[in-house]
């Protein structure tokens, strides 16, 4: 299962693709079961140059019955910095945030599709 993420151009916020829109919370991200559909959508996202910067696919896993990014790095993007819990998306709280906080998995090198191929 995959999700599509990027940073919003105007403010740099981490955002996630959902049916042609970019949403700030991971729980609202569209999940792609079909890798080919995910890659086609990634191509579409890359054409939105005045909306987002550097869209890419990430692997997601189940955590506490909800979905979470596999990569630790991506979970930090979806939450905010661990040294300032009052900053970033984590400040909003909720079950989805708790699921991300409790998720276990990889650190940076995995979970970001095609990371090695990128410059």
């Amino acid at each position: 299962m995959k999700a599509l993420t990027a940073n919003r151009l105007a403010d740099g916020e981490a955002v996630f693709w959902n049916q042609g829109q970019w949403v700030p919370r991971f729980k609202d991200a569209q999940l792609f079961e079909d890798a080919a559909v995910a890659e086609t959508t990634e191509g579409e996202a890359k054409s939105q140059q005045t909306v987002v910067v550097d869209p890419y696919l990430i692997d997601v896993i189940q955590s506490e019955g909800l979905w979470a990014p596999l990569s630790f790095r991506e979970r930090i993007r979806a939450l905010g910095p661990s040294n300032h819990p009052q900053h970033g998306k984590q400040a909003l709280g909720g079950d989805d945030i708790a699921a991300l906080q409790h998720a276990h998995g990889a650190a940076r090198s995995t979970g970001r599709v095609n990371l090695i191929k990128r410059k």
Partner: protein, 551 residues
């Protein structure tokens, strides 16, 4: 404090206006991200995990109250109300919006600041001894020369597209508080046989993936030839530095591959054919710069009865004096460290409210000056001994008086994976955990000088190679692990740390530090620092303690 002249003001204003237009064109889709990225980086604007990060240049780490108040206001207005001081003595704001960046640069220009030279393959913001102009052990104020380098290097057309970034540090004291041996060029002032002042010129230092200590290519360069000699070094580097491989592009790789002697020979040949008069600073300009760095000290008694009385009745204040207050060249004055290392908080972070407190103290008690130290703390450089009790009280009320300078909880940590797009692992939580374990000031004082430096990736912004204990975050099979090194130093006794053993998981790092501290306390002789004991015993007893369970 150097004040901008009309030339400085005009080019900063031009640059700010240019960037405003570039941002508008990017937002309108007239230029692509690939075209825009190098432009924003040349203005210190990075895109990180949560937002844009603006790195603001603080030339040779010197600030005044007006500048720090402006930084506080910008952090509160455009960011989350705090900033992060770095090992390059710059300030990073981690929650910046692209659309606000041009406005922020305009506000910075109002107080003679900018964010140029904090990114890109240029000569970066120059750093200097943070005790400059206040310490008795210096031959000259190194900021005079650092400011000359700033003026010469900013937007230098020949050196704006170097093979890789380029960093210069200057000191004029025997004690190296500017880490000159880990810089692309380190300049250490020396006095020649005839009394003339000159620089020992070191090149090719640097950390990162391939760490090197700088090599001396000239024992004594008369100060008047500084700029022409720097130009010769940069020309040789610009011509032969590798542009085909980012990991081999720094000058350290060129110096290592040619050998320092051959590199030095090429620099001398380049310098010999240059027109020195064209590049070197005229005496009149040097005098103009020097006049900006001449604070007027009062004639005071070297002993303060007020301070002695306060010390006698207050153990916490006495401890603060032992660790955070240092001798000044002028009788009756002291340098006072402002600790940004409260155990449990983020190393180098300071809130807008705290910035305003420090700005007020600088204005009232330190001749309107303050400094940023590369160890991510601040310094009030010119405090009268009589005023130290009041300064301590104000700092303590603001949470800025932890008496831990150079002690185990005075940890350098880069932002790491909590913010940085390059990081492999977090650095801040590791620093927080270690500092909390050693938060007891009595215990920290018993352990004594111990410099822990943490980086979240091999780029080594946290200087882990030169920590007495260095900690490097790595990604090991998808988990955050930490590689420990021992015996590094970034000072006049510079050395690169030695690997302890296999990397440790995050929850074992603090225990390992504590085990190594126990070994040190057991083994140390005659007031040795941790570093001295390590150099005497070697790595074996430390390794045995940390990996005992594994055997």
């Amino acid at each position: 404090m150097y004040r901008y002249d009309n030339i400085d003001k005009a080019f900063v204003a031009d640059r700010t206006a240019e960037f405003r237009e570039q941002v508008e064109r990017r937002l309108a889709g007239e230029i692509t991200e690939d075209q825009f990225k190098p432009i924003r980086l040349l203005n210190g604007l990075y895109l990180q995990l949560h937002a844009y990060m603006l790195r603001i240049a603080i030339p040779y780490g010197t600030l005044n109250a007006a500048k720090l108040r402006k930084l506080a206001w910008i952090a509160k207005t455009y960011d989350q109300g705090y900033g992060h001081f770095t090992t390059r003595t710059n300030l990073q704001l981690h929650w910046i919006k692209l659309r606000d960046a041009p406005q922020i640069l305009e506000h910075l220009a109002e107080v003679e600041m900018h964010s140029m030279q904090t990114s890109g393959n240029t000569i970066r913001n120059v750093t200097a001894d943070p005790y400059a102009g206040a310490t008795a052990d210096e031959l000259d104020d190194p900021r005079v020369w650092a400011e000359a380098i700033r003026q010469w290097s900013t937007l230098h057309p020949e050196f704006s597209f170097l093979p890789r970034k380029f960093k210069i540090a200057v000191t004029a004291a025997a004690k190296d508080r500017a880490a000159t041996k880990i810089y692309d060029i380190g300049l250490a002032m020396r006095r020649g046989r005839n009394g003339e002042l000159g620089f020992e010129v070191m090149v090719g230092g640097g950390l990162g993936r391939t760490p090197y200590l700088g090599s001396t290519i000239r024992e004594f360069l008369p100060t008047r030839h500084l700029l022409s000699y720097l130009e010769a070094i940069l020309r040789v580097y610009n011509r032969y530095g590798r542009r085909d491989n980012i990991w081999k592009a720094r000058i350290k790789v060129l110096v290592a591959s040619l050998g320092a002697e051959e590199f030095g020979r090429q620099v001398e040949a380049e310098w010999a054919k240059a027109d020195h008069e064209r590049t070197d600073l005229p005496d009149t300009e040097l005098a103009r710069i020097r006049a900006e760095f001449t604070p007027q000290f009062e004639t005071l008694s070297p002993r303060s009865e007020a301070l002695e009385r306060a010390k006698a009745g207050d153990a916490a204040f006495a401890r603060f004096l032992r660790h955070n207050v240092h001798p000044h060249k002028a009788p009756g004055y002291a340098l006072v460290d402002v600790s940004l290392k409260t155990p449990g908080l983020t190393p180098g972070d300071i809130t807008s409210e705290q910035m305003n407190v420090v700005a007020d103290l600088a204005e009232r008690f330190s001749l309107d000056e303050l400094r940023v130290n590369y160890n991510q703390n601040l310094i009030l450089p010119h405090v009268k001994l009589d005023d130290v009790p009041a300064v301590h009280a104000a700092l303590a009320a603001a949470g800025l008086a932890t008496p831990n300078m150079d002690l185990i909880s005075d940890i350098i940590a880069c932002p790491g994976l909590d913010y940085c797009a390059l990081a492999n692992a977090r650095a801040i939580p590791i620093a927080q955990h270690i500092a909390e374990r050693f938060a007891d000031p009595v215990r920290a004082e018993q352990v004594g000088e111990l410099k822990i430096k943490i980086s979240g990736c091999i780029n080594a912004c946290g200087h882990h190679h030169v920590g007495h204990i260095g900690i490097l975050g790595v990604d090991k099979k998808g988990e955050e692990f930490y590689q420990l090194t021992l015996g590094g130093s970034g000072e006049e006794d510079a050395s690169l740390g030695q690997m302890l053993g296999p990397a440790l998981p995050a929850d074992k790092v603090t225990d390992a530090i504590e085990q190594m501290v126990e070994v040190y306390l057991r083994e140390r002789k005659d007031g040795e620092r941790f570093l001295d004991t390590f150099r005497r015993t070697g790595v074996t007893p430390f390794k045995e303690a940390v990996y005992a369970d594994a055997h």
